[in-house]
Each structure stands twice: as C-alpha cells, then as structure tokens.
C-alpha cells in the first residue's frame, strides 16, 4: 500500500472525500464478510510466511526476537473468527450491533450501531502493533480510516496494510484505508484532520494529544496517552512466584508500552520493598534470556548513568544493578521522590505503608495512569483493585500479563470498539407522550432483522 504524503491541505481534503465515499460502501458490508477477510488475513501472519519473516527482519533490532514473535502470534490469534466474534460480542454488547436494528420487547424502540465515518488514527511509534490494531478496529466498526504514521514508525503498519490488501480479494476495505505521513508541525494539514475527521484517535505523547484537543475537532476525539505503567505489590504475596512475571512486564516492550511498569509501589512490611528490589534485579538478569536487551545508544547509557549516579549522590534511592552492564536498573526509593526514570528497564520501587498510602502516592500521576500490575495474595485483590481504581487506574493485570490482551477487554475505561461507533435509536412512539392513533407496525416489521 502506497504511503500518502499530502503536499497541500487540498490534497488531504480530497483524500477525506474519497475515504468518506469508501466508508459508505464499507458500512453496507455484512459482518460475515469482514470476518471472512480477517480469516484470510490470519494465515498470512503465521511463522514462516513471507510477511512474518519480513516483520521479524524489520523489528528485531529495536525489540527482542522473542517479543516480536510473541506479538505477531498474538496478532494472528486475535484474527481467529471465534475470538473476534467473542470479542465483538463483549465489546459491542451484541455481535450484530452494526448489522441490524434491535427492537425493544414492544417493537417500539430500536437500536443499532453506526460507524463514525472517517476515523483518523494519529499513531505513536512506541509499540509496532498500534497501526495494525487500529486497522482491525476500523474494519470491525466499518469505519474508513486514515492512519497517520509516527515518524518513528517501524514500517510494520505498512507491511500489515499490504497483507490486508493481499487478503482483500473482494476489494472490500482497500479503498477505505489510507496510510499517511506528514510532519506533525504542518498545521495546515493537521487542521484538515481536525475539521474533516468524524473520529480522531490520538496515541502517543503530550505533544500529539495537545495538537488535537476536543474543542478544535469536528469529530469525536479519543486520547490514549501519555501513560505511566505502574505496579502494586502487597504484603503476603508469594514474592518468588511473581518476580519472573514482573520482570517479563518490564522487559517485553522495553518500557515503551503504556502498560510497561516503571514505578512499583510496595507495601513496607517485613522488608518487602528491599526484598523485591533485590529479587527484581535478579529476575531482570534472568529475563535477559527471554528478551535479549537491545544495545543501548550512548544517549541511553548517559541517561542510565545519570539516574544511577544521581540516586547515589542524592541519597534518595539505593541502586540495584549489575556493575558491568546498563540493561536494567532497580532503584529502591528511600522516600517519595515524585520522579520516575525513563525506559532502559529502569524501575523505581517506592515503599508505601498500606493501600491508602499507595492511593495517595499515585495522586501526582493520576492523569497518566492506565495499567497497574497487581501482585497480591488472592484475598487482597478486590481491595487493591478498589484502591487502584480510586487512584485513576483503568486496567489491572496479573504479573506477566501487563500487555497480553487487546480485544474483549476495556481500554482506558471503555471498550475501544464502542468508542468508534454511534448508537442510534429509532423511536416509533408509545405511551402518553406519543400522539395516539398512529399505525407503525409496518415500519417496525421493516426494521426487523431479516433472519427473524
């Protein structure tokens, strides 16, 4: 699929016109055909296929091979028709929400989902699956989509779009998808997106989010980011059992995913914070075998060095790290620092007295919270989740599963697919406020799903 590089606002506006037209065609495609298309796409992403090999070649420099293979396996699994149907049912409430009107028991009120129209996805470059997921979400919600690639895009989004085109033998979706790229500072182009898109999904840093504020955009605006991944470790947990999972979550996406934990709040009982810091350091050594650390650049090494040195000099944290390597660093804070290091498998362990203190410790980060990894004895999960939700967390994961799912669970407080549709009601009218004596049975029958 060719990358669209608009030179002028007019060109971009024209593309929106084309996408809107293609989106109308997409709306009339039944779910069964969308599922069929995904079913044809899935085999193209099995290990050993051309696309799989190309993706490995593209991605195994910034990421470990194991992480890429796992992510591709997850992506292919997510296209399994049964899983898609289960996910759709869960996210939309009914699998045919976009395909048929659902009447109430009296045949008076009818509900159906409609696509937003043309959705612009402003992608981030942190995790390579973002564009592929956005594409699949658009298909499932029958929205035409303009994907604006990040300048750090790995090339995977284009590869995935190419595979979609290969699988789209009936030409259902190809015209409804545009991969685009332009300098984010080009305000005339951004302005077209703000004024044309019926939905805007913005992934990434504060700059991207600030460029598309809801009040300046015509369509529905959904912001995802920036986020701080956290963890909560409570007394009574089987520490040795959870450490490998915590290290997995830290290492899997090299802390570039929203869900990757960088701050661990640990209940200060029985020396748990220090035991955790020591244990996590060991576990991060072990996890090197699964996720080989990438070679750090000089800039990254400088950053790690400054974090370690400043911790020592300020006395704010004890450093647990290999002396001869910079691929991971665990900092055990002596008090609440309010500062969290960036990336390179650096984790700040902050002791907290109890759940109330954990909630208070998260207050400065509230706007950036999303996923919390929870390591606790089963009996303490509900109380811990309640505290995390009060603090602003929207997703809770068991250790080792921080970034495991992307369909069928809510994302940031809502089902992602539901945000990409509008629920439309048709009211034929009943009750004391409706004008009496009308005959609407024929209309109700016409709206009834064909299968009934």
């Amino acid at each position: 699929m060719n990358l669209f590089r608009p030179a002028t606002a007019h060109e971009l506006r024209e593309r929106f016109v084309q996408l809107r037209r293609a989106g109308r065609d997409l709306t009339s495609i039944p779910l069964s055909e969308v599922l069929e298309l995904l079913g044809r796409l899935r085999p193209l992403w099995q290990p050993g296929t051309e696309y799989h090999d190309q993706a490995l070649a593209l991605l195994t420099s910034p990421w470990s091979r194991r992480a890429v293979e796992s992510a591709l396996a997850g992506l292919a699994l997510g296209m399994t028709p049964e899983l898609v149907q289960a996910g759709l049912t869960r996210e939309l409430g009914r699998i045919d929400l976009l395909d048929a009107w659902e009447p109430d028991p009296w045949g008076v009120g009818h509900v159906r989902g409609y696509p937003l129209g043309v959705v612009a996805q402003i992608l981030a470059g942190n995790v390579f699956l973002g564009g592929a997921i956005a594409l699949c979400q658009s298909l499932l919600t029958r929205n035409a989509v303009l994907l604006k690639l990040s300048r750090e895009d790995s090339g995977f989004t284009a590869l995935f779009a190419q595979s979609l085109r290969a699988a789209d033998v009936k030409g259902l979706a190809t015209n409804a998808v545009t991969l685009a790229s332009w300098d984010s500072r080009e305000e005339t182009l951004n302005d077209v997106v703000r004024s044309e898109a019926d939905g805007l999904v913005v992934w990434g840093g504060a700059g991207a989010v600030a460029a598309y504020p809801a009040e300046r955009c015509k369509g529905r605006v959904i912001h995802y980011g920036p986020r701080l991944g956290i963890g909560l470790v409570l007394a009574g947990v089987d520490l040795e059992a959870v450490l490998p999972g915590l290290a997995w979550d830290v290492a899997l996406w090299e802390q570039q995913a929203c869900s990757s934990p960088r701050l661990l709040l640990v209940e200060a009982q029985d020396d748990l914070p220090a035991r955790l810091a020591r244990g996590l350091q060991r576990a991060l050594v072990d996890v090197r075998n699964e996720f080989v650390p990438k070679n750090l650049s000089l800039d990254e090494k400088g950053e790690v060095l400054s974090v370690r040195e400043l911790a020592w000099w300020s006395g704010q944290a004890e450093v647990f790290a290999p002396a001869d390597a910079m691929d991971h660093t665990v900092l055990l804070a002596r008090d609440a620092t309010g500062q969290v290091p960036l990336g390179s498998r650096m984790v700040l362990v902050q002791p907290v007295a109890n759940l109330d203190a954990a909630e208070a410790a998260l207050a400065p980060y509230r706007a950036g919270l999303q996923t919390a990894v929870l390591a606790a004895a089963p009996a303490r999960w509900q109380g811990a989740i309640d505290a995390l939700v009060r603090a602003g967390v929207t997703e809770v994961a068991a250790p080792g599963a921080a970034a495991a799912r992307f369909l069928g669970l809510p994302h940031e407080g809502d089902f992602a697919l539901r945000r990409l549709i509008r629920l439309i009601g048709v009211d034929l009218g009943a009750g004391p406020l409706a004008c009496p004596g009308r005959e609407l049975k024929a209309t109700a029958l016409a709206l009834k799903p064909a299968a009934e």
Binding site: A206, P226, A257, L305, E309, W313, L331, Q339, L342
Partner: protein, 354 residues
C-alpha cells in the same frame, strides 16, 4: 613549586611527567576538603571514578571553610539549568594561566591587535566564557584593546548589530583585530551586511577569528555549521581559514581546547581527555564516539579533578600540525529524551528523571 604549578609551567602540548604528581596533589587536597567526594572516591576500591557532571547541578558540594570564593562561573545553560563553578583566587589564576598558555602554545596573538569580543560584557554576566576570556585577553601583551559587543540585560542577552558593526569598523581602521566569541553573533553581522548588499568586509592583514560555543543553540532557529562558517567568514573578512579557530570548553573544566591550524582541538599537557563507554567505564577505540571524560588537576577548591561530561567526543593522536598532543573531536551533546512515545513523554510530564 607544587606539582600542580610545575605542570602548569610545562610545554603546553608535550607529554608532561608532572601530570600524575599533580593529580595526586589535587586529589589529596580535594579528599581533605570534601568528605563526600572522598567517600565517592572510595566507593569502588582500586578505581579512580569520574564525577558525572549532572550530579554537580543537582547536588552541589558544600564549600569548606578554608576556601574563600572569589568568583562563581556559570555555564551558558543552553542545554538546561546552568551549572555553577566556585573558584578561589588561586584556582582562578590557574585557569587563566592555563588558557593563556594554550593560546601561546598555538602561536595565537603573535602581533598587536584589537579584540572585538562577541561575548557578553563580563561586567554584566558570570558566564565562564566571558570572564575567563576577558581575564586572559587582559594578560596578553599584544592585545591593545577589548571591546564587548554584547551584554546580558535584564531580559536576556542583548546584541545590537549596528553598534557592533560600527565598533568593528572602527577597530579595523586601527590595525589587525581578533574577533572572539560566539559564532552566531558574527554570523548575524555578516548576514546583516549581506542583506544590505555588502558581500565583504576585509579585515587588516594579521587579523584572526576565535570562536567558542553556540554552534547549535545560541540563537533559536539559527543552527551553525562550523565548516560553513569558516568558509563564509574567511571570504567575508578576508581572513585565511587557518586563522579561524574554534575553542571548545566547559565552565567546569579549567582546560580549554583550542583548534590548531588543522582545525583540531588539542589536549594540553595539564589535561587528559578520554572518550568513554559509560557502560564499561573504558575508552572506546580511537576515533570512535564516547562520552568525553576529562582529568585536569588544576582545581583544588572544587571536585572537578576528573569529570565525565555530557558531551560526546572522539579522541585521536597524530595531527598533521605537528603537535604531539592528542586531539578531541566534539560530537554533540547527550540527549536525554530519546523517543517521544507515550511511555517516554510521561517522564517529562511528571517531573523528569531523578
């Protein structure tokens, strides 16, 4: 004469046997004066660790009672919070002497000349570049006069192109001049005249240009390429390219690295420069880029003996100019925020790194 003073009296660009004794002397004094630094030195037995410069910004050392500060130098702060270097009179004099010796070792200021300083007037700033260069110029017998063309005002740097140009023309009418300071300001003068249709302003024979700092971020939106500047300035001012030299230094380091006629920044005898891989603490291969580590045993009033900077550089030997001293090549600054991704940006949003 102490080992440090003997080192300062050495040939500027030859191997100096006084270096190690000077390091030992400097370390002993610093150990005594700064217990926390002594603790740092003892942190890993058998090693002589370098102090990473960001540490100085966040956790400055308390000054000992026996040090009477006479000047506090600041960095330009173009890459963040300015750092502050306190010096007593003795250490200040050593710094001035070291820079003067570097100039002399490279045969600069060999004839009488007027200095036009494209720097903040030292009466208006504590920036190291202004203060040290001013003190050195005043000690150079061939510098007849010094005129400052910029100053630090209440709202920031002030530079008036028209006034600077008038000063430049006046000085040039008297004889050879040295233009010294920020290349961005010199570029501004050239650009202003070129816009007015004047393509050249030949300076008297023997004039030279000494630039320092500000290649990347002195003026917003005006990045400068050093080679391009040299070509342009040489043609515009009619100064041979070999008489256009750049100086590399930092406020925390008493040694200044001045380009030779081949354009290389030689390391003077009172300094050791290494390009380090911070992961191993070892030198990267000659010519490869590492983090610049400097050992300069000239400062006994603040722990600046061995510092790991935030500059990237390579270090090599064998310059065509004939000097035996190694030379360094600056390769830019370390940058902290690597990717503007959602998980990275939060660092800045919540207060940055510790």
């Amino acid at each position: 004469m102490s080992p440090i003073d003997r080192l300062l009296a050495a040939e500027p660009f030859d191997e100096a046997p006084e270096f190690e004794p000077a390091v030992a002397e400097c370390r002993d004094v610093l150990r005594r004066r700064f217990p926390r630094y002594a603790e740092f030195l003892d942190r890993r037995p058998g090693e002589f660790p370098a102090l990473f410069l960001p540490v100085l910004k966040s956790t400055p050392f308390a000054m000992p009672a026996d040090v009477e500060i006479s000047v506090k130098l600041t960095s330009s702060g173009t890459t963040g919070q300015p750092s502050e270097t306190p010096l007593d009179a003795e250490n200040w004099q050593r710094r001035v002497q070291a820079m003067r010796a570097s100039y002399q070792g490279l045969d600069l200021f060999g004839i009488s000349m007027h200095a036009l300083a494209f720097l903040m007037d030292p009466a208006t700033t504590r920036m190291a570049g202004s203060l040290v260069i001013d003190a050195v110029l005043r000690k150079m017998p061939n510098v007849v006069s010094i005129t400052y063309l910029a100053k630090m005002g209440s709202a920031g740097p002030e530079f008036k192109g028209a006034e600077a140009l008038a000063s430049l023309k006046y000085a040039a009418a008297q004889g050879p001049v040295v233009l010294i300071g920020y290349p961005a300001l010199m570029s501004a003068i050239m650009a202003g005249l070129m816009q007015a249709g004047q393509t050249r302003l030949p300076l008297p024979s023997g004039s030279c240009i000494l630039t320092g700092g500000g290649w990347k971020s002195f003026l917003p939106g005006l990045p400068l390429d050093q080679a391009e500047f040299r070509t342009k300035a040489s043609a515009f001012f009619a100064v041979p390219p070999t008489s256009i030299r750049d100086m590399f230094g930092l406020s925390e380091c008493p040694a200044v690295f001045v380009q030779c006629r081949e354009g290389r920044y030689h390391v003077p005898a009172w300094a050791r420069a290494h390009a380090i891989d911070p992961e191993t603490g070892r030198d990267v291969p000659a010519g490869d880029t590492g983090i610049l580590q400097l050992t300069v045993p000239l400062t006994t009033c603040y722990p600046l003996l061995k510092i790991l900077t935030t500059d990237k550089a390579s270090v090599e030997m064998g310059c065509g100019c004939g000097l035996r001293a190694p030379y360094l090549t600056p390769r830019g600054r370390l940058t902290a925020a690597r990717f503007e991704t959602c998980a990275m940006k939060i660092g800045a949003a919540v207060g940055g790194q510790p």
